[in-house]
Symmetry: C2
DNA sequence: ATACCGATCCTTACTATGTAAAGGGGGGCG
DNA sequence: CGCCCCCCTTTACATAGTAAGGATCGGTAT
């Protein structure tokens, strides 16, 4: 009497959400197809129907998810303010899921993440930045590095640390401080 | 008839060198105990004698290896020059082994890497930097992020890219440019 | 020399993981 | 009612990490 239907049907979104939950809660190493299946009340192989390339596709999707950000262009007029808004949004997105940070830092941007980057370049160009592509590269580098150091220092990798949120007030202060310096430096 | 001795005896350094070679050449995911054993002309289990905690210890050792840098304090007098020298050395060490970059970015510093950091803080303090710990955090963040973006853009992760060296002239120019801005910003 | 011993390496075996292949059941359409 | 397709399950296999227990060697004490 096998082959029952799961309570709620599977979907790409539900898979990614569950994967993020597991990676954030127990680390990327413990994110396995079978565990992911258990979390979704489904056998592991069911996932392959929604993510045809298996775990590789899952990893790509996770990286894409935490690196895709968009900011309202109307919220800021100068390219400096837009750059800052984008950097803050990126930092927030990455800190929300420290478990997949290594993927975000390692995998080259694809799909929606890549689109978001080109959009950001366009926004900076329109608002008068010189070398907008270089500015976005520098901003991405700054955000990536800041988040990496913040997560390291929050003791997130430590399995027996009660710290489950990588965000700290000190980290935010440092981030804002360096961001101001970087944006100022991009002008010259 | 079993149990022959390997041509040249195993050692922690040889293991780490071989592991770096595999990770750089075929990616972290292909770095397996058995493959590492093959590269060393040894059975996989022999490695555990030199790295008692197994693969976890190996990963820690690799991260430690590419994040341990030292700069001659006599080579630069001002804290700005020392900061720049340290940043350049760190970047070079990380770019030399792009295969283990995700470990370096993710794992908190331990052992010799941690010692090198505290030494660097001390050097900056002695040469007159205000908030040397904050400066080192900012420099580490900048180096990490820059290298991450450089490696991403070099197409290193792409399995069928002929690019086996992540260093580019453009990357270096951007790095130096941002480094100047950051060091300037740290002064205020 | 002989007997022992500890460091180093091998063999075997077990569990966990990713995933290819094929099967089953349920709903919609003819 | 019969057929088919979509979604999920079963089964199976290659590969991974590593615990447990030998085997081999060089050296040391007797």
């Amino acid at each position: 009497m096998p082959a029952k239907r799961p309570p709620v049907p599977l979907s790409r979104e539900r898979i990614i959400d569950a994967a993020l939950h597991i990676a954030d809660g127990q680390g990327l190493r413990r994110l396995t197809m079978r565990r992911l299946g258990d979390a979704l009340q489904v056998e592991a192989m069911a996932i392959y129907h929604h993510l045809p390339r298996g775990k590789e596709a899952l990893m790509d999707a996770l990286a894409e998810h935490v690196t895709t950000v968009q900011v309202d262009p109307a919220a800021a007029a100068t390219w400096q303010d837009r750059a800052r808004a984008w950097a803050r949004a990126s930092r927030a997105a990455l800190l929300e899921h420290p478990g997949v940070l290594s993927l975000a830092l390692t995998k080259p941007p694809k799909g929606s993440a890549l689109i978001a980057i080109t959009e950001q370049i366009e926004q900076l160009r329109e608002s008068g930045a010189g070398d907008p592509a270089g500015a976005v590269r520098a901003l991405r580098a700054y955000v990536f590095g800041s988040v990496a150091v913040e997560v390291q220092q929050s003791g997130w990798a430590d399995p027996d640390a009660e710290v489950r949120d990588a965000r700290t007030a000190e980290g935010e202060r440092d981030f804002e401080h360096g961001l101001d310096a970087l944006v100022a430096g991009l002008g010259g």
